[in-house]
């Protein structure tokens, strides 16, 4: 049985200014990644990235992206990710960089990693908070990526 295997790259978009994060959308990341792969690997890279490449999930509050690509070529696309310097969205240019956190074979494994990562983030960020309101807000936005609700979130974003 031929099974089409893919790899899901879990990336975090890091910006210097947190307010710009909400401007992101998946088309911007898609075009930026395709352009970077085309620049780094030429026509071959551009052709490969048109096969089975898509942005599966984007969380504008925390800046988490799932990129899906074929298992045979994911290294090539991954190697072009460091060269992305900015994202273009509706005429506005946001300087940022993508940090790849995890590579998984399925969305479920990436989600499991994401849950662990988010709990670590909570541990890091909560002590730095000044007020109780900030604390509860951070808790809410970070814990919104749980496994149970993931299907809902995905449907919302797509």
């Amino acid at each position: 049985m031929v099974r089409l295997k893919s790899r899901y790259l879990l990336c975090e978009v890091c910006v210097s200014d947190r307010r710009n994060l909400s401007l992101l959308d998946d088309r911007a990341i898609y075009t930026a990644t395709k352009a970077a792969v085309a620049r780094a690997h030429g026509d071959y890279g551009a052709a490969l990235s048109s096969l089975g490449f898509s942005v599966k999930y984007l969380n504008a509050h925390t800046g988490i992206v799932f990129l899906r690509c074929r298992k045979s070529h994911y290294r090539l696309i991954w190697s072009a990710l460091p060269f992305i310097t900015s994202l273009e969205n509706r005429g506005q240019r946001v300087p940022c960089f993508l940090n790849c956190l995890h590579v998984g074979g399925t969305i479920r494994t990436c989600q499991k990693f994401l849950v662990r990562y988010n709990t670590q983030q909570l541990h890091r960020m909560l002590p730095l908070c000044q007020s109780e309101a900030e604390r509860s807000e951070i808790r809410k936005s970070v814990l919104s990526c749980t496994l149970k609700k993931e299907a809902d979130d995905e449907e919302e974003d797509e």
Binding site: S79, F83, F97, N99, L101, Q120
Partner: protein, 268 residues
């Protein structure tokens, strides 16, 4: 999860920017960074000043993502030289944790590999390599424990630099077979840093194998750090400790097994 290090953060007099770079590095998962002071000895007698005390930058160092320890900041000196006579003064070098040299001529490269008392030799990334790498000085450097550094930030900034970086890196790999290589950023802004797994993957572009790529940012960097520490000791036996350094460093030094200590003595 190994210990990742980024050993090249360009020193700027702007404290806020330096601070944000180090915070970003901690967020990305680097356990140790080194602030790089570049000195160009060709221009009329620049002095090698003392490095700024690291404690001035932060009251509390930012905690590394994924671990519970704060990030460690070292000082590093890079000497851009074209003449072997430039590289003699030894007194100020003791104040820095790491010493690097950027050779611009073939003769200096040979001398730096075989005789100079450095930890890192920088490979040119912003221009076409003016000389070819020969196998004999590189093998000599590998035996002594000197590492070759490739910096990746010029590749991110500009397309022509990218070509030079990749070309020079691949020619280095052909001669050294992937041993004793570290990959560092030369970041001046926090947006120029990249995560450690991304860099290990970039190593594939540079001709490193997968294991070598991961080693280039973790185990090799740690070896460089230890190499720099042994320079402060007299033949690896006596360890003088600065009062602001934490106690764990001395324990680390004493834990070095006897066989390694002997090798360090011979390398001196």
């Amino acid at each position: 999860m190994a210990v990742f290090m980024d050993l090249n953060i360009t020193y700027t007099t702007d404290k806020k920017r330096l601070r944000s770079v180090i915070e970003t590095a901690a967020h990305l998962g680097y356990s140790t960074v080194a602030i790089n002071y570049v000195v160009d000895l060709q221009q009329k007698k620049q002095e090698i000043g003392k490095p700024k005390c690291v404690l001035e930058l932060f009251d509390t160092f930012p905690i590394v993502q994924g671990k519970s320890r704060p990030i460690k900041v070292l000082n590093r000196l890079t000497v851009v030289a074209s003449d072997p006579s430039h590289f003699r003064p030894n007194a100020e070098y003791k104040a820095y944790d790491l010493v690097a040299v950027y050779p611009t001529t073939e003769k200096l490269f040979h001398a730096a590999c075989m005789t100079f008392d450095v930890d890192i030799i920088c490979v040119a990334v912003i221009e076409k390599q003016p000389f070819f790498f020969k196998r004999s000085p590189i093998n000599g450097a590998i035996e002594r424990g000197v590492f070759f550094e490739i910096s990746y930030t010029p590749a991110i900034r500009d397309s022509t630099m990218r070509r030079y970086t990749i070309a020079n890196a691949i020619s280095l790999m052909e001669t050294c077979k992937g041993k004793n290589v570290i990959v560092t950023s030369g970041a001046e802004k926090p947006l120029e840093l990249r995560g450690p797994y991304d860099i290990a993957n970039l190593g594939l572009l540079f001709g490193l194998s997968e294991g070598d790529g991961k080693a280039a940012i973790s185990t090799n960097c740690r070896a460089v750090h230890l190499h720099g520490e042994t320079r402060k000791t007299a033949l690896g036996i006596v360890h003088s400790m600065k009062s602001e350094q934490p106690l764990t460093e001395r324990q680390e030094k004493e834990d070095v097994p006897a066989s390694k200590r002997a090798k360090i003595e011979m390398a001196q």
